[in-house]
Amino acid sequence: MKAIIHIGLKPGVLDPQGRTIARSLSHMGFGSVTNARQGKTIELELDTQDAGQARIDVEKMCKQLLANVVIEDYQIEIIDEKAEEIPENTT
């Protein structure tokens, strides 16, 4: 089983990296860029067969370690290599 966690700053939280990237791109001549935000993804390999349980676990991992819920939102994607992806995102 695989889990992909997308972590981004909450709306309204200053993203200095994003801002600097946007400015640099436009200085470099990419005038169409009006805004940039930077986030991170964490890809976990999980030794389990149960996608439902995996989601519950990853949810816990996000709350306890992976995301800083004071300023960040997260989304979890569980990918069961045998089955297809299981949608339903959580924040």
């Binding site: 700053l9 909450k10 709306p11 309204g12 939280v13 200053l14 993203d15 200095p16 600097t20 400015r23 800083n68 004071v70 300023i71």
Partner: protein, 747 residues
């Protein structure tokens, strides 16, 4: 955290209450305005009259402090204090707390704390040259402590390292009393020219007001202020309670401000700290005796649909407000553009004496400025009298041997205790050598950091100190002691102590016992400052550090600054060499009450243990001792100097051994019990390493000055020895000292 109020833009009694204003305060507002305030005006009064901005619980007590002296150029009242260090140079410094934000989000909370204190310093025209940090965490076994420590240290480094200002010193304590209220106090020291100091008084009418730096978002608009229904639908979720720091922008802001300050364009300048645009504009106007008109549509904004209320109360970081000389606008615009920073002319100074705000073609605020300061609440909170404390008498029940332990174990216990063990894990994450002038820093384990004044042969010595153990037992003596310890730490380097800044961290002032601690700590600080002619030039008060009615241990942190006039004549803890003699200066009575030994070995830190009086500070002796040590350092009579603090003579000698790489042998030669001689914490004492030639002159001159002085041992070998007490390997003990914190963090 306050409860979130209902959405409404009407000023109802609930809304007033949610803004932390009493009925009486609200009446004063209505009276002064001759009408009811609108929501923006209410928000402005509320933040200006908050504890943070108005110092309503502390003002009358802070007034008592000594704030003047022959080297003081500017005392409290400006963004930071300014002292004269000769040759046209001035040092500008201040310490500030960022406790609550650091508990909520340790990385950003600590980072923005560092950013904020640096702005206080460079807004006055000083380039920051050193940062320090005084940290207090909960018990190491508390589940949150490790994460908080890691985050705070990472944040302090993340900000200071990027800006390129060395973090040269600090202190770190652990105690269960801080479990739910950690303390993060940051100090910044900057260098300016004495005749090029910038102030915040917006003198003169008709002058343009400029906003520079980062743009404004909905950061840090606090709970009580959620009262406006004017917010658009998603603005609530766009209102982060934690500000994110942007050290890159701060660095640009420093350079741009320095460049602009080199011209003569600026009349007044002020950083936007707590209560952002509100407090900066009002303070500048108030000090300059003018009114202010702001066109809020011109404020650079990060978010859409921001209301006047939000703009005025936002605490977005890395922003400054300044008043320019008419005709010099373009100079500023060009400089800020060059540094890729936002710059906007957002208003003008007026002769109305009012703060007038325009937004979308309407006047959204029109209030007289004077009452905001003059009528600000100035409370005389009741406080309780101190408890009488017993003095802990020496007796065989305090002897390690009768307690079934031995001296080696005691020393190991003290050396590996959280407060004493090496803080390398922390300070190795701080760039300590950038700017090329750091002469001594945390890595020596010494007393004060030493930072050279760039391009000269002089330096400043800087230290932060507080022993909460003492303050908790006796706030007056503890306050005195904190000041005296900084004085000693500076004296050890040979620096002339010049002035202090303070950061007074206490619990809820509405509680009589806490208020009592606060008042007495100030009195103690003041007593020491006056006796030592060592004024307070800046500071900060942080109250309400409590959770569920449980206040933190009172922690008045003191930052001291001194001047080393000649870098050919200074001293550190490092210089002891094999064959040197160890001389103990100051009176030794073997005082164990409230000592580290009492807490860790005798169990006096238990919740139910009796509290004993901490060691008193004799300020007359303090003065004489400090002056003598400085004279010896300047006469090049000492190889190394260290003051005695936590753990007494034993730990002072061991710290000196760690710093020099040589062991020692201490010889007990007085009537005191051995443990009291080794671990007693009598104040005003120094340990000096001196060579053969200096030994006798030092002791005999001390006698003529009535300063107790005796040889207590010699430096050399690879063992730490106190005859009849302990005998430990230098290398092993040092390793244990180094290992505690990394082992704790990695566990």
């Amino acid at each position: 955290m306050k409860k979130m109020p209902k959405k409404t833009s009407k000023v109802t009694p609930e809304v007033v209450k949610e803004h932390g204003l009493s009925e009486q305060e609200y009446e004063i507002i209505c009276d002064r305005l001759g009408r009811k305030p609108n929501i923006t005006e209410l928000g402005i009064f509320s933040v200006m009259w908050s504890e943070h901005c108005s110092y309503k619980s502390s003002r009358r007590h802070l007034k008592k402090m000594l704030t003047t002296g022959k080297r003081v150029i500017q005392g409290p009242g400006e963004n930071a204090g300014v002292i004269d260090i000769d040759d046209g140079d001035a040092i500008i410094f201040k310490m500030e707390s960022h406790n609550h934000p650091s508990y909520i989000e340790p990385y950003q909370g600590a980072a923005t704390g560092v950013g904020g204190i640096m702005r206080d310093v460079f807004t006055m025209g000083a380039r920051p040259i050193a940062n320090l940090n005084a940290l207090r965490f909960g018990d190491p076994s508390h589940p949150k402590t490790k994460t908080l420590l890691a985050g705070v240290v990472h944040g302090i480094g993340g900000y200071g390292n990027c800006v390129g200002v060395p973090t040269v010193g600090g202190e770190t304590n652990f105690h269960r009393g801080y479990n739910d209220n950690i303390l993060v106090n940051a100090m910044c020291v900057g260098l300016a020219k004495a005749d090029k100091v910038f102030y915040s008084a917006a003198k003169g009418v008709g002058n343009p007001i400029f906003y520079v730096g980062s743009n404004t978002g909905r950061d840090g608009i606090h709970g009580a202020t959620m009262a406006s229904a004017e917010f658009d639908d998603d603005s609530e979720e766009k209102r982060p309670t934690v500000q994110v720091g942007d050290p890159f922008t701060e660095k640009l802001l420093i350079e741009a401000c320095m460049e602009l300050m080199a011209t003569d364009a600026i009349i007044a300048i002020q950083d936007m700290g707590a209560a952002g645009l509100t407090s900066s504009s009002i303070e500048m106007a108030d000090k300059g005796g003018v009114g202010v008109k702001l066109l809020l549509d011109k404020v650079p904004q990060r978010e859409t649909g921001m209301t006047p209320y939000e703009m005025m109360l936002s605490e977005s970081q890395e922003r400054m407000l300044m008043v320019l000389k008419p005709g010099k606008e373009q100079i500023a615009i060009d400089i800020f553009n060059k540094w890729d920073l936002d710059v906007a002319e957002i208003g003008i100074t007026t002769d109305t004496g009012h703060l007038v705000l325009h937004h979308k073609g309407k006047t959204v605020c029109d209030i007289p400025i004077a009452p905001l300061g003059d009528d600000a609440p100035n409370l005389d909170r009741p406080y309780s009298a101190p408890k009488n404390l017993d003095i802990l008498e020496n007796g065989s029940m305090h002897d390690p041997l009768t307690r079934g332990t031995d001296y080696n174990t005691v020393v190991t216990t003290l050396i590996t205790s959280p407060d004493i063990a090496s803080k390398r894990w922390i300070w190795e994450q701080y760039d300590r050598s950038v700017m090329g002038d750091t002469i001594d820093n945390s890595s020596s384990g010494g007393d004060a950091a030493i930072v050279r004044i760039h391009g000269t042969n002089k330096a400043v010595a800087i230290t932060t100190d507080c022993t909460p153990r003492y303050v908790a037992a006796d706030a007056f003596e503890g306050g005195k002691q904190a000041v005296a310890e900084t004085w000693r730490n500076l004296s050890c380097t040979g620096a002339e102590p010049i002035a202090i800044t303070d950061c007074l961290n206490f619990g809820n002032p509405e509680r009589k016992d806490v208020m009592g601690q606060f008042v007495r700590a100030i009195e103690g600080i003041n007593a020491a400052c006056r006796a030592l002619k060592y004024p307070v030039v800046s500071g900060n008060v942080s109250l309400y550090n409590e959770t569920n009615g449980q206040a933190i241990p009172p922690t008045p942190c003191i930052g001291g600054v001194g001047l080393i006039k000649d870098l050919n004549r200074f001293s550190t803890i490092k210089g002891a060499r094999a064959g040197d003699h160890l001389v103990l200066l100051g009176k030794t009575d073997g005082w164990l009450g409230s000592s580290l030994y009492a807490h860790l070995v005798l169990g006096h830190d238990r919740v139910d243990a009796p509290v004993y009086a901490p060691p008193p500070v004799d300020l007359t002796a303090e003065k004489a001792g400090g002056e003598y040590v400085r004279r010896l350092v300047r006469d090049r009579r000492v190889q190394a100097a260290h003051d005695l603090s936590d753990g007494g003579l034993a730990l002072a000698a061991i710290e000196m051994a760690f710093a020099s790489g040589f062991g020692f042998t201490l010889k007990h030669a007085c009537d005191l019990p051995l443990y009291a001689w080794l671990f007693g914490e009598d104040q005003g004492r120094y340990l000096l390493a001196v060579d053969d030639n200096s030994l006798n002159p030092i002791i005999s001159t001390a006698r003529t000055l009535n300063i107790p002085a005796q040889k207590v041992g010699v430096i050399g070998g690879d063992r730490l020895v106190a005859t009849g007490a302990f005998d430990l390997s230098l290398q092993d003990t040092h390793m244990q000292y180094e290992n505690w914190l990394p082992a704790y963090m990695d566990a």
